[in-house]
Point group: C2
Chain length 396, copies 2
């Protein structure tokens, strides 16, 4: 009844991101563990939320008073939706009966960093996922890190290391999400020499400006077209580059409270007073985003490194042009060239974290999240299939 260690695991990775648009599901075949791990993406899809579910999620997220029963029922509902996504992604590949394991990140509805008490909440009941799919589920990946004094984020540097490191090439994975962050993978380096941190602004700042200037009609600058029509204001750019976050030494993290709505509104007001066009401000802020990332990449790597870009920013051509200039002679490439579609990176990542959990593999996180521990990340909820769990011999 029990898996022989040699056979590859078929693992589904599930998550819903900060945009709360739907469930990303990846089906991955994973062989081995740690430095011998090999992964192959079999399928990837996004299962959009219905409008009603999205609205319930948005209402449940963040601080402040939230109805207790609604939250418990939403946790169950989201578990059902995650289970449906798992059933959906498995269907084209023989059904969940052929799946060994699910790794579900869930949906973050609250994240308090360590300096605010340290707590992180993901909903999407794993018990529901395991019951509805019959597949054992690993979940709550961030809780162990937070409990060990870490920030609970980022976790994907582990799977960037497992998937994307090279013996021959210094690599940087640049993810331009709401905030931009990098994973630095020196050629031939072990996990202990991998580092990862935020570089500064990401899409959140650009998106907010696009929304302000379009009076809410656009939620982002598609392809960077708007920025491409403008001219960067060098003085403003120099001033923005004075931000103290950019002088801090890594590891470091920031958020949209620093590079988001508030900064966007301040800049829009300033541009209006100075009769600066929307195009010019978007060009400046897009260059700023690229320059911040470029500066950290130059600090962290030699000129032979390659930069692999993912996240929404990978589709912003204005950003990519400036980035290429900033990091030259380093090559800038899409993450796809390493065999994983950029959109699938996170879902694949949580599939791999689940597989690593089952192998009992932990990673020292001090340089990434600040956690004191190397405990395997996650909790395991079995569902109906048999399993065998053996505990370590206790001390004296």
């Amino acid at each position: 009844m029990v898996v022989s260690s040699g056979r590859p695991l078929r693992v589904i990775g599930l998550l819903s991101g900060t945009s709360m648009d739907g469930v990303d599901a990846a089906l991955v075949e994973v062989r081995g563990t740690g430095d011998r791990l090999r992964a192959r993406l079999l399928d990837f899809r996004t299962f959009p939320f219905a409008r009603g579910d999205r609205e319930r999620l948005r209402a449940a997220a963040g601080r402040g008073p939230k109805d207790s029963a609604e939250r418990a029922l939403l946790d169950a509902r989201l578990g059902e939706l995650f289970a449906r996504a798992a059933l959906g992604i498995a269907r084209r590949s023989g059904g969940v009966g052929r799946v060994d394991l699910i790794g579900s990140h869930g949906q973050t509805i609250l994240h308090l960093p360590a300096r605010r008490g340290g707590a992180t909440v993901q909903i999407g009941s794993a018990a529901r996922i395991a019951a509805a799919t019959g597949v054992p589920t690993v979940h709550d990946f961030r809780a162990a890190d937070v409990a060990a004094g870490g920030e609970g984020a980022p976790l994907l540097p582990i799977t960037d290391y497992l998937l994307f490191r090279s013996k021959a090439e210094d690599r940087v994975i640049l993810n331009v999400g709401g905030i931009a962050n990098i994973t630095v993978l020196p050629a031939g380096a072990s996990w202990e020499r991998t580092s990862a941190y935020d570089t500064g602004p990401g899409n959140a700042l650009i998106d907010r400006l696009a929304s302000i200037f379009s009076k809410g009609k656009r939620s982002f600058d598609a392809g960077g077209a708007w920025a491409s029509r403008g001219r960067t204001d060098g003085d403003l750019l120099d001033r923005l580059l004075e931000h103290p976050f950019l002088r801090r030494r890594p590891p470091k993290s920031t958020g949209t409270e620093t590079f988001g709505d508030e900064l966007a509104r301040g800049l829009a007001r300033e541009a209006s007073r100075a009769r600066m066009s929307a195009e010019d401000l978007l060009a400046t802020v897009t260059d700023y985003t690229a320059a911040c990332a470029g500066r950290e990449i130059r600090r962290a790597t030699g000129p032979g490194a390659s930069v692999y870009v993912c996240g929404g920013g990978a589709r912003n051509r204005a950003l990519l042009r400036t980035l290429a200039r900033e990091v030259a002679p380093r090559a800038v490439r899409p993450l796809e060239e390493l065999g994983i579609p950029a959109d699938a990176r996170e879902a694949v990542g949580f599939a791999l974290l689940a597989s690593e959990f089952v192998h009992g593999a932990g990673y020292p996180m001090r340089r990434v999240t600040g956690a004191r521990s190397a405990a395997p990340l996650g909790s395991f909820t079995p569902g109906p299939r048999p399993f065998r769990l053996r505990l370590a011999a206790r001390g004296k």
Copy 2:
């Protein structure tokens, strides 16, 4: 590094009950699994909450709006308090280094039965417990049952079966908590013939009347002394025994919304109009509680059965006197006679459920909670110690 299957596990069971007074902790040595399981209680203690923590818990419990950040931080805080209780109970027996496993029920702050959507919430972060003690922790025992369509309660019939069944004697475990419930263990019967359900009112009704008549100075009728001074009103008792819950066939469950504050206030008003004394009403309601339990016990067992009583009601002498009359010639005995202090039953129970989880043992729950599944109950959060997890071979 890995436990050989023959060695007994040292397991700590933790819970905080509906009274929210503190953490009950039991240290148990467990050998084997299922019908071959043998348990020995090594230590039991209650670690009271400080007043501030108790007040935070009471504010967090129930339906309605609750601050999101406060709840996340309370989950973490309670995890720390549960960890301290585990460290405390282990200290007298060689420290947590000698403990293999923790089973933590946590603190229930919301329980919506299946007919209200089915969700159950226990707080007390298992990641915090595992990080602070270094001991792997099994938790969220009720979620799998609810996810499989069950009520999520009662779960302790499993451990009553494991601990208290007899080859020679028909046994009933009667727990007089807020609501009274029984586990029926026919002599020599397997788990499949074990049944468990609520019998009707428990301490909640008596406690509320004690509080009303003492104008809040007493929270219960100590030892049943108040009831012992009164005389039962036979007409009122007969009328109370007409309650439709008592005619329903098991399995069945009820709650304090039926046998609690509202009924107590109605009865107190009626007694006041009829110039009935507090003593007489308490005598009547205490007899009512015993009569409801007695009726179900007579239905469920032959005259040779023994009834083992636990819960707060086991200290109510008026209740025990009536119960003995109601179930005669069946013997009424304290649960202690079966080797487990009545106060420790629940904490020992969650230690055993954790041990059964590690062995991958599940129990069909249809006759107890209505759940469709026999999946092992709980989730596993490892902490820093190594472990080995082997999954079932997947289907075709």
